[in-house]
């Protein structure tokens, strides 16, 4: 018996006495259709008044059987699936899958392809974090205003996606061995003006939000998770970094030449919802820093290695992981020598980050649980696949 166990038994005793007082706990279903579940996710909470006593997560409403479908298609045909796994960070998903396939095939990506991949992965991070922070403040009860502010920036990123590959959300841009198309001429000037504007924008968001008393009251000390617990639950991404653990795959396990760029890992102190928000804001700044280093140093040359469309990798398995906006995104591929993967598995950061929601929300109020869910930044497409 540790002191922690003592606390737990004392706490459960309290809950029993509360129940013994004659209050009836209420079970409330949040979702699958609910404004704050970010898709079709169902959270079953047991409430004593407004206090969450138990939370049960039900997933699977958006299951599209992607992993099984992928076993019937060639490696290249599977790339569009990855767009739809995490539809808010399609570029990162493309990238992770292509890295796994390249490892299986033993393909070397040309330097220009590497640079373009980094460029779009970081732009995707800016867009995804804009969305995450906007919806987070929305869940805190702001009437869509921050969301629309954040959407302005996301919109410009999506415009750049569109001018490069024709699609905004489901980009299908990365290919095994590089990227599908070269950068269009107008991209770099657009990117440059974007990079020029963003510091002012971020400063104005910080003016608006960092000192907002209501936001502090709603998000600080809410949904706290300790670094030990975060590591035990295998959390990754901004949630893990908000607890103070400096863990970023771009530094821990560099891919696509991230070791050549200078950037920092922002970490929080408390591991609460507000720290997650702060870490995301700081990460946007770091992404812009990488883009600034990149924009003048994109090497010339081919952007796509010569890989046959019906590539048959040798028998074997490969796992590649990237730091997606939501955390460690991994793809595990097993090849039996045929043009289609024998096994296609995705390690979705949203699903694993979500598993800590119960720990974070019990003991808080219903409103806190919603804020915590918003701060985790889930994408249901990625959870259910």
């Amino acid at each position: 018996m540790t002191s922690a166990d003592d606390t737990r038994s004392a706490l459960s005793g309290t809950i029993e006495t509360l129940a013994g007082d004659g209050s009836e706990p209420v079970v409330v279903n949040l979702g699958p259709q609910h404004p704050s579940t970010h898709g079709v996710f169902r959270l079953k909470v047991t409430l004593d008044g407004e206090i969450v006593q138990d939370a049960e997560m039900r997933i699977g409403y958006l299951h599209r059987s992607m992993e099984k479908l992928a076993e019937e298609r060639t490696y290249t045909q599977n790339i569009p699936f990855t767009d739809r796994i995490d539809y808010l960070a399609a570029m990162s998903n493309n990238l992770a899958y292509c890295l796994a396939a390249e490892e299986l095939l033993g393909v070397e990506v040309p330097p220009r392809g590497q640079a373009i991949r980094v460029l779009f992965a970081e732009l995707q991070r800016v867009a995804s974090h804009a969305m995450a922070n906007g919806t987070f403040i929305n869940d805190c009860g702001a009437w869509h205003t921050p969301l629309f502010y954040m959407f302005r920036d996301r919109e410009r990123v999506l415009d750049m996606f569109e001018m490069t590959c024709g699609a905004r959300l489901t980009t299908n841009y990365m290919r095994i061995g590089g990227v599908a198309f070269d950068l269009p001429d107008e991209l770099l000037p657009t990117l440059r003006s974007f990079l020029d504007d963003m510091p002012d924008r971020i400063a104005s968001y910080e003016d608006l939000l960092m000192e907002n008393e209501i936001l502090h009251a709603r998000a600080r000390g809410i949904g706290v998770i300790s670094p030990e617990m975060a590591i035990n639950s295998s959390l990754s991404g901004p949630i893990l970094r908000a607890t103070g653990v400096p863990w970023d795959l771009r530094k821990a396990n560099p891919y696509c030449g991230y070791e050549n760029y200078e950037f920092d890992i922002p970490v929080g102190e408390q591991g609460d919802c507000f720290d997650r928000f702060l870490v995301r804001m700081a990460e946007v700044k770091q992404s812009l820093r990488i883009l600034n280093q990149l924009i003048d140093n994109i090497p010339d040359g081919p952007w796509l290695a010569d890989v046959p469309l019906h590539a048959r990798p040798p028998e074997g398995e490969a796992y590649a992981r990237v730091e997606s906006p939501r955390g460690e995104l991994g793809f595990y591929l097993v090849s039996d020598g045929s043009p289609a993967p024998y096994r296609f598995h995705c390690r979705p950061p949203s699903l694993i980050n979500l598993s800590a929601l119960k720990e974070m929300s019990i003991g808080g109020t219903l409103a806190d649980a919603i804020v915590t869910l918003g701060s985790i930044d889930i994408v249901v497409g990625e959870i259910d696949r």
Partner: protein, 427 residues
């Protein structure tokens, strides 16, 4: 005064500065031939029709105004497709809502479920009765008008409770409980804030309060700023607007007490909510900004236009807070009410009583005494606000939230501890 003699047209039916003239002439004409009960009924009907005629179109325009203003806050255009500048958008919405199917949950308490969308109109419309649009322009100038306002607005809670309870839906029940708890709590600072005005002006008539402000050439927001702030916040809580819209918090309990209402029934709740916002803005303008009076301008411009302009200003402020602020949690709202607003307004009731007694017993010249009191009260308000900010913020100021940038260290717990110790040492 300049050459234009106001008395020349005052009292004629076409003098639109005071619409009461028209109604008075009609009543007198009826009194000539009809029984006297008819004339009182006709006066009442005229007033009610006048109010309805103002509210109906105003609500339609207000929906458009609110959406347009919020859209501008959010860097978008807002409705701009139906009609010129999107002005007909509310009409289109209403038609859509009327055509929608009216659903009722099978387990709902049918009688109580059907009543609230209608009943919710009653307090919302009754409040207009005591609002003075001009020196003699109010449907019922009760000598307990302030109490009437509080009493009638308090009954709205019952209707919300009926709606939430009868829906047999947990979100609705949560919304209803929150609405009732909030409304009961925030009625206290609201009453206390108005009590300062009543004590100081010595009248409970709404028009009397305006006339006092006119007579003393001062508006109450200068004399009792804290009461104005408390009333504004309490009103926004009663109106379910951010930062206090917890009873229909979209991100938590979907739509609160009216979750189960579809079609035009929802539309009615929505309309009443806007109407209440408008009338409370009008009362804030009346109590704290001088109502229909504006330092003599009311002699030249019709008084009701002045009131509407002030109302618009307050309404814009309400939209502004809605478009800007996140929502507080219910326990935070409750503790703000009971631990901050109630003591502060209570203190100001005492301050008002002391100042009133001094004015009456010492016979001071109000032109000198009132500005001095205003300065004292503004200073007291600033002190109270700063004290509260200090108490509320002290913990946060001690530990500002921030991120630490880590360049070379990657790892698990050990790295986290190292980073934390370095960050702590660097402070």
């Amino acid at each position: 005064m300049s050459g234009f003699d106001l008395a020349v047209v005052l009292g004629a039916w076409y003098d639109f500065r005071d619409l009461n003239n028209l109604s008075r002439l009609i009543t007198e004409w009826i009194a000539d031939w009809g029984p006297d009960w008819l004339s009182s009924i006709v006066t009442g009907l005229l007033g009610s029709l006048g109010i309805l005629a103002v509210i109906g179109p105003t609500l339609l325009v207000l929906i458009w105004v609110e959406r347009k203003v919020i859209a501008r806050f959010q860097q978008r255009y807002g409705p701009n497709r139906v009609g010129p500048k999107g002005l007909l958008q509310p009409v289109a919405d209403a038609i859509k809502l009327i055509l929608k199917e009216q659903l009722a949950p099978r387990a709902a308490d049918k009688l109580i479920f059907f009543l609230p969308p209608v009943l919710i109109f009653v307090p919302g419309l009754l409040i207009w009765g005591v609002l003075p649009f001009g020196p003699r322009m109010s449907v019922a100038d009760l000598n307990v008008g302030v109490l009437f306002l509080l009493a009638v607005s308090g009954t709205g809670v019952l209707v919300l409770f009926m709606a939430g309870w009868s829906s047999n839906n947990k979100y609705a029940l949560f919304g209803a409980m929150r609405a009732v708890a909030m409304s009961i709590s925030y009625e206290v600072p609201m009453v206390l804030a108005l009590l300062t005005l009543v004590v100081f002006s010595g009248t409970m008539s709404v028009n009397g309060i305006v006339e006092w402000q006119q007579q003393e050439d001062v508006i109450f927001i200068l004399l009792f700023p804290l009461s104005a702030i408390a009333f504004f916040f309490a009103a926004s809580a009663e109106l379910n607007r951010t930062p206090a819209d917890i009873s229909e918090a979209e991100s938590e309990i979907v739509a609160g007490y009216h979750t189960e209402y579809s079609g035009m029934r929802f539309g009615l709740f929505y309309a009443v909510e806007l109407g209440n916002t408008l009338v409370i803005s009008a009362f804030i303008a009346t109590f704290f900004l001088g109502g229909w009076w504006l330092w003599g301008l009311d002699q030249w411009v019709p008084s009701w236009i002045i009131l509407l302009a002030k109302t618009g200003a307050v309404y814009f402020l309400l939209i502004w807070t809605r478009g800007t602020l996140p929502r507080l949690r219910i326990d935070q709202l409750m503790s703000f009410c009971w631990k901050a607003l109630v003591p502060a307004t209570l203190i100001f009731v005492a301050v008002a009583a002391v100042e009133r007694t001094l004015l009456v017993t010492q016979g001071w010249d109000t032109t000198i005494a009132l500005p001095i009191m205003a300065v004292i009260n503004i200073a007291l308000t600033l002190g109270a606000v700063m004290l509260f900010a200090r108490l509320a913020r002290s913990e946060r100021l001690r530990r500002p939230a921030r991120t630490t940038l880590v360049r070379d260290r990657v790892g698990g717990l050990a790295a986290a501890r190292e980073v934390a110790s370095q960050a702590g040492g660097g402070d």
